[in-house]
C-alpha cells in the first residue's frame, strides 16, 4: 500500500515534469481562474461589508417636547432599551445638539448663524440604534405613541428603498460569484483533460501490459492535485503581493468601509486551496475515467 502510494506520487511528479509545457499551461490556467474567483470573492465580500455598514447606519431619531423632564426621558429610554428591536439608545440634549450643529457648520466652512439667536432653537432628541434595519417601523411607531415625543423623523420609505437595493446587490453578487465559479470549474477541468489526453499513449500502454485501474488512475489524480496545489500557491503568492497596496487603495477609496484583508486571509486561503486542489483531483479523475471504462 505504501509502495503503491509512493509509486503514484513518484509517477505523478515525473509525469508533471515530463510534460512540463502541458503541466505548466494547466497550472497557469488554474492560477488565472483562481485569481478570477478570488477577485470576485473579494469584491463580493467588500460589497457585503459595505452593505452591512450602510444598514448599521440606519437609526431612528425622535425629537422630544421642550417641557420633557429628565425623569420622563429616563423612563422612555428604559422602555426603549427593553424592546428586542433596539440595540442602543443615545440621548442628545439641546446643548449637545447645538454644539453638534455648530461643528457641522464649521466643518462645511459655513457661517454659524446660531450666534445671531438669543436662545437655543434646537430640541433634545433620542437616537435609537436598531438590531436590524427592517425594524424601523416598529420602533418608529413605539416612539410616536409616547406623549413626550414631539416628532419622529420619517425615514421608513428611505430605509425600504435601501433595503431593496442591498438585497438586489446581495443576490446579484452571489449569482455572479456562482457563475464565475462554474466557468472556472469547466475551464480547469478541460485544461486538465487536455493534459491527460496528451498522455493517452501512456495510458494505452499501461492497459495493454496489464496495469490495474488503480495504478493507472492514482498517478494522474496525484498529478492533478499537484497542479491544483501549485496553482493555489502561486495564486496566493500573487494575492499576498498585491494585498497591501490594494487594501490601502480600498481604504482610501471607500474611506468608511471597515474592510480588512487580515480577516479575509483565512477564508481566502481555504477557498483557493480547496478550489485548486479539489478541481485538480476532480479534473484528473474524470479525464482518466474516460479511458478506464470500456
Amino acid at each position: 500500500m505504501i509502495t503503491f502510494v509512493l509509486f503514484s506520487i513518484k509517477r505523478a511528479w515525473q509525469g508533471f515534469w515530463r510534460n512540463a509545457v502541458m503541466s505548466l499551461a494547466a497550472t497557469a490556467t488554474m492560477v488565472l481562474m483562481l485569481l478570477l474567483l478570488a477577485g470576485f470573492w473579494i469584491i463580493q465580500t467588500g460589497l457585503l461589508a459595505g452593505l452591512q455598514f450602510t444598514e448599521q447606519k440606519v437609526q431612528v431619531e425622535a425629537s422630544l417636547q421642550p417641557n420633557t423632564t429628565d425623569t420622563q426621558v429616563q423612563a422612555l429610554q428604559v422602555q426603549l432599551r427593553a424592546m428586542p428591536e433596539v440595540a442602543a439608545v443615545a440621548y442628545v440634549s439641546r446643548e449637545a445638539a447645538l454644539v453638534r450643529f455648530r461643528e457641522s457648520m464649521a466643518a462645511q466652512g459655513r457661517e454659524d448663524l446660531t450666534r445671531y439667536l438669543d436662545a437655543n432653537p434646537l430640541y433634545a432628541s433620542l437616537e435609537v440604534q436598531l438590531t436590524d434595519p427592517t425594524h424601523v417601523r416598529i420602533v418608529g411607531d413605539a416612539l410616536r405613541a409616547d406623549p413626550t415625543v414631539r416628532n419622529v423623523y420619517n425615514i421608513e420609505d428611505l430605509v425600504d428603498r435601501v433595503l431593496t437595493i442591498t438585497s438586489i446587490l446581495r443576490t446579484a453578487g452571489t449569482v455572479v460569484l456562482l457563475i464565475v465559479g462554474v466557468i472556472a470549474l469547466f475551464i480547469i477541468i478541460n485544461t486538465i483533460r487536455l493534459a491527460v489526453l496528451a498522455r493517452a499513449e501512456e495510458i494505452e500502454v499501461m492497459r495493454l501490459v496489464g496495469a490495474s485501474d488503480a495504478f493507472i488512475r492514482w498517478p494522474f489524480v496525484f498529478e492533478g492535485a499537484f497542479v491544483g496545489f501549485l496553482g493555489s500557491v502561486v495564486t496566493l503568492a500573487i494575492l499576498a503581493a498585491v494585498a497591501d497596496p490594494l487594501s490601502a487603495f480600498m481604504a482610501d477609496f471607500f474611506r468608511v468601509l471597515p474592510l480588512q484583508f487580515g480577516s479575509l486571509t483565512r477564508d481566502l486561503v481555504t477557498l483557493i486551496m480547496g478550489a485548486g486542489v479539489g478541481l485538480g483531483i476532480l479534473g484528473s479523475w474524470l479525464s482518466v475515467r474516460t479511458y478506464l471504462i470500456r
Binding site: T3, F7, E204, V205, R207, L208, V209, G210, D213, F215
Partner: protein, 258 residues
C-alpha cells in the same frame, strides 16, 4: 543479430519444457480456445462469425487475411478490449467474458502484445520502456532490474538500453517492444503486423526472434500480410475472410489476393 547469452531465460524455459514432457495432459493443454465466437459491433457490423479456434501451448500460428477480415477484432477479444457477442473465449483456462474488472489486468499480464507501430513511449529509454511494464503492474523494485536485463539480453539490446526510441532503427524499436511483451513471462505472444513498418531484411530478423522465443516455449500468434514469410515458414496458418475462418492448416501457404 547478436544475442547475448541469457542463461536465466534458458533455465526457466528448460524447466517449462521438462515439465511438459513429464505431464502429457499439460502438453495437450490449449493456451487459447475460441468456441462459436461471434462479434457484432453496436453499429450492426459483424466482424467475426462462428469462429472456432484452438491454439495448443507452444504453437506458432499465423493469422492471415485481407484488411477488415476480422484479425484485429479477434485480437481485441483476446485482450478483452472487446467482449464477444456470442460464444466463448477461453484463455489459459479462463473464460475472459466472466472476468471481473479487477481480474482483466491480471489476465492481460499473461499476454504479451506487439504492434506494427511499436507503441513505445518516446520520452523513456529502452530500459525504462521495458521496466515500465513491470512498474505499472506493481512488481517490487528489486525484481525489476534483473527481469529487464534478462529480456534485453534475449532480444540483443543490452548495449542500447539507455537510448531513446527516436535514436533506434525500426528493427531495434520492434525488438524493444518484443522485450516489453516478454518481460511478464507471458503464456502467449500476440504480434499484430509486427513487420508492417519494416523493410524485408529487418522483417526476417524480427521473425527469427519470434521463432526463437517460440522455441523457448512461448506460444506465438502472429497476424500478418506478409505472404512471403508465411509461405516460407510452413507453420500453421489460420486464414480469416469476412469474419469466418476459411482455412486452418499446418504448413499452409498464403497468397495475397487483396
Amino acid at each position: 543479430m547478436t544475442v547475448a547469452p541469457a542463461q536465466n531465460v534458458a533455465r526457466s524455459i528448460r524447466h517449462r519444457v521438462l515439465r511438459r514432457t513429464q505431464d502429457q495432459a499439460k502438453l495437450e493443454r490449449a493456451v487459447l480456445v475460441m468456441h462459436d465466437v461471434t462479434k457484432e459491433y453496436p453499429n450492426g457490423k459483424i466482424a467475426l462469425r462462428d469462429v472456432d479456434l484452438v491454439i495448443p501451448e507452444g504453437a506458432f500460428v499465423f493469422l492471415v487475411g485481407p484488411s477488415g477480415a476480422g484479425k484485429s477484432t479477434l485480437i481485441k477479444l483476446l485482450i478483452r478490449d472487446e467482449v464477444a457477442t456470442r460464444g466463448e473465449v477461453v484463455l489459459d483456462g479462463q473464460d475472459v467474458a466472466r472476468l471481473g474488472r479487477r481480474q482483466v489486468p491480471r489476465m492481460r499480464r499473461k499476454i504479451g502484445i506487439i504492434f506494427q507501430d511499436f507503441k513505445l513511449l518516446p520520452s523513456k529509454s529502452v530500459y525504462e520502456n521495458v521496466a515500465f511494464a513491470l512498474e505499472v503492474t506493481g512488481v517490487p523494485r528489486r525484481q525489476i532490474r534483473p527481469a529487464v536485463e534478462r529480456v534485453l539480453a534475449l532480444v540483443g539490446l543490452t548495449a542500447q538500453s539507455s537510448q531513446k526510441p527516436s535514436q533506434l532503427s525500426g528493427g531495434e524499436q520492434q525488438r524493444t517492444a518484443i522485450a516489453r511483451a516478454l518481460v511478464h513471462d507471458p503464456r502467449l505472444i500476440i504480434a499484430d503486423e509486427p513487420t508492417g513498418n519494416l523493410d524485408p531484411l529487418i522483417s526476417w530478423e524480427i521473425l527469427q526472434l519470434l521463432l526463437r522465443i517460440n522455441e523457448l516455449g512461448v506460444t506465438v500468434m502472429m497476424a500478418t500480410h506478409n505472404a512471403e514469410v508465411v509461405t516460407a515458414l510452413r507453420k500453421r496458418v489460420v486464414a480469416l475472410e469476412e469474419g469466418r475462418i476459411i482455412r486452418d492448416e499446418i504448413g499452409g501457404a498464403y497468397h495475397r489476393e487483396d
